[in-house]
């Protein structure tokens, strides 16, 4: 049975202070302000007051905590006797994420599959092991959210070690994993046992999200696999600028590039950096040939990877419906509208049969 505890807002602050004092890194939604424009991003907190747990969704996803935009794979040093390789550590500082969105927490578990598939990514799993996820039920959504269309929910606990449900004065905490239990063991005094029955209310957010988009992932997949040359691709891609904003804010996009960078005349580092299929350079061959010759092919690839290729290999879609790609696209490309259009097309096909 799931262990259920309570956590007051004051005790959450004290818990964060305890963790920081014990040398852990605490990551939470925090506020950035530039030119009078404020936005929320996940970032390391120096004190509990910096956390913004009731704000809008962080603009970038949580994946960068486990897959940084750039990281060193190894360092090299060249000398007369040869080349020396210096490994990088694969164990990491304890990190606790407070206030992860359910769509972000689920994404990490979805990515575990590809990261542990034909090659076990030591850096990914090193950070995963060091990181505890304290996810928080969503109390607000917007027109871009569609987690319910990919089998998730604003109250979904997938990928969470603790799941926090806001109640009057604080949270109810579901302790869901051995890692979560170990964390509770160390901070039991902050999280007393439930004194009475649950006071959580049904938020009703799920219906709101469902109203944005109501499609079935398997219907999307069936359509994608039979409409490789559909006119949709060219039409939707006309406005696409071919940047990587959608993929870089996405909690599940995980493609990377590998570069060698010198740090002087005789030494350097091999790094991996985020990369994205929406750029022309991504598939450009050394010969000058590009198999994905235009933006239509690149847009199609993004949808195919998420809703056809990943499900065929790992049994689930590579999308958690967070809606970030919709929010950041400078050209207004709207994945919700595209998926809805595909959904309508499949419904019409069904009627015709």
């Amino acid at each position: 049975m799931i262990e259920r505890r309570t956590l007051s807002k004051t005790d959450l602050g004290a818990l964060v202070a305890d963790l920081l004092a014990a040398g852990a890194s605490v990551v939470a939604p925090i506020r950035f302000v530039d030119q009078g424009r404020a936005h929320i991003e996940y970032g390391p907190v120096r004190s509990p007051d910096e956390m913004v747990l009731d704000g809008p969704q962080p603009r970038r996803s949580l994946k960068e905590v486990v897959l940084p935009p750039t990281e060193v794979l190894f360092r090299w040093r060249q000398s007369k006797s040869g080349v020396g390789i210096e490994e990088v550590p694969t164990s990491f500082q304890e990190t606790v994420v407070v206030g992860a969105r359910p769509c972000d927490a689920a994404a990490l578990e979805i990515l575990d599959r590809v990261m542990g598939w034909d090659f076990r990514d030591e850096l990914w799993f090193g950070r995963r092991q060091a990181t505890a996820i304290l996810a928080l039920e969503c109390t607000r959504c917007d027109d871009s959210c569609f987690c319910t269309a990919v089998g998730l929910s604003p109250a979904g606990t997938r990928g969470a070690d603790w799941f926090l449900t806001p109640v009057e004065g604080g949270y109810e905490v579901d302790v869901l994993t051995p890692k979560g239990e170990a964390l509770l063991e160390r901070h039991k005094d902050r999280c007393p046992e439930m004194a009475g029955p649950t006071t959580r209310r049904v938020a009703g957010l799920e219906q709101k999200v469902r109203a944005n988009l109501d499609v079935r992932p398997d219907a999307i997949r069936a359509w994608l696999e039979t409409h490789f040359d559909d006119a949709l691709w060219k039409r939707a891609a006309l406005r696409c600028h071919g940047c990587s904003a959608c993929a870089f804010v996405c909690p599940t996009c995980h493609c990377f590039d590998i570069v060698d960078e010198p740090d002087g005349i005789d030494r350097g580092a091999r790094r991996r950096n985020w990369d994205a299929c929406q750029t022309a350079l991504f598939t450009l061959h050394a010969s000058g040939y590009n198999p994905r010759k235009d933006q239509a092919a690149r847009l199609r690839q993004r949808l195919l990877h998420k809703f056809s290729i990943y499900p065929s290999r790992f049994g689930e879609v590579l999308c958690t419906g967070c809606g970030r790609c919709v929010r950041v696209c400078p050209a207004g490309t709207d994945l919700v509208a595209i998926l809805a259009e595909i959904g309508r097309a499949t419904a019409e096909q069904g009627d015709a049969r």
């Binding site: 950035f32 530039d34 030119q35 009078g36 424009r37 936005h39 991003e41 603009r59 970038r60 960068e64 935009p69 750039t70 027109d143 871009s144 060219k234 891609a237 006309l238 406005r239 600028h241 071919g242 940047c243 990587s244 904003a245 993929a247 870089f248 804010v249 590039d257 570069v259 960078e261 790094r271 950096n273 985020w274 994205a276 750029t279 350079l281 235009d294 933006q295 239509a296 919709v326 929010r327 950041v328 400078p330 050209a331 207004g332 490309t333 709207d334 919700v336 509208a337």
Partner: protein
């Protein structure tokens, strides 16, 4: 905006163009649309949420747009400066495009915003706007509009930054640029970033490190800003597109002021006026040659 719709219909019916590039409402606000059918002209709109600079689609590297044939494009005065830039730099022939100028009273920062055009919601560049209707246009539609209300000027912020010590300035830009993940949205939306192969993508040799660490990010953003000095049309698209919300427009604005101070050049929508980088004058400043 019946005037805009009627004009678009006429241009398509008379086969003056094969497509209209303008703004139409999607689910979450206006977005660029390409209208090829007369019946779809009803979708065309222009209002204070039509932020996007559509001149970016006229760059020759947009091959899929070029395939549509001759275009008519809806341009605000700031967008028209970008069209002039493309013509000036031989990326576009004036006769290859029909320009539908719109009178503009300022736009919001974010096209998805349903808030009124007021205060922090006004795009920063609109507070510095000198011209609310383009001179470079074949047609001009809409009524003249008042200037948008607003408070925070970027020039005030630039003065604050200029007053900082070099160490403080470095710390500020380090903290801002550290957030860049090199998605290159700033470059892709920029109408003046039309290089076939960007210097950031060259690997033999590597001029700009691809890694989004502070060193690589400084190399990228300073190169981008310098490459746009005297060319940037101050449309603010780089800043709007940035998912990390880095105030990139400050760099461009700073360099625009340096160019104006040194060469008396202010970016214009008259394509016949050469840029300082594209011209040679005997009386050019050369104090930097020691």
């Amino acid at each position: 905006m019946q005037e805009l719709k009627e004009l678009a219909k006429k241009l398509l019916e008379e086969k003056q163009v094969s497509a209209i590039l303008g703004y139409g409402y999607g689910r979450l606000g206006p977005q660029p649309i390409f209208v090829t059918e007369v019946t779809d002209c009803e979708r065309l709109v222009f209002d204070h949420r039509c932020v996007h600079n559509l001149a970016a689609y006229l760059s020759p590297r947009r091959t899929h747009v070029a395939q549509l044939g001759r275009l008519a494009v809806v341009v605000k005065a700031c967008d028209a400066r970008a069209v002039a830039g493309l013509i000036r730099e031989s990326q576009l022939k004036r006769e290859d495009v029909v320009l539908i100028g719109v009178r503009c009273g300022g736009v919001v920062r974010d096209p998805a915003s349903t808030q009124p055009l007021d205060g922090d919601n006004v795009a920063p560049r609109c507070l510095e706007c000198e011209k609310r209707e383009p001179a470079l246009a074949d047609h001009l539609v809409g009524e003249p509009k008042p200037d948008p209300p607003g408070n925070a000027s970027r020039d005030a912020r630039l003065s604050e930054i200029a007053a900082m010590s070099p160490e403080e300035r470095l710390a500020l830009w380090t903290s801002l640029l550290a957030r860049c993940t090199r998605c290159h949205a700033c470059r892709q939306v920029c109408p003046m970033c039309f290089c076939e192969r960007c210097i950031a993508e060259k690997t033999q040799p590597v001029w700009i490190e691809a890694s989004p660490h502070v060193r690589g990010n400084f190399a990228w953003h300073l190169t981008r800003a310098l490459h746009l000095a005297g060319r940037c049309v101050n449309c603010g698209e780089c800043e709007r597109a940035c998912p990390a919300q880095i105030p990139l427009g400050l760099l461009n604005r700073k360099l625009a002021r340096v160019v104006e101070d040194l060469y008396g050049y202010r970016v214009t929508d008259d394509p016949s006026v050469p840029t300082p980088i594209g011209s040679y004058r005997l009386d050019d400043e050369q104090e930097f040659i020691q």
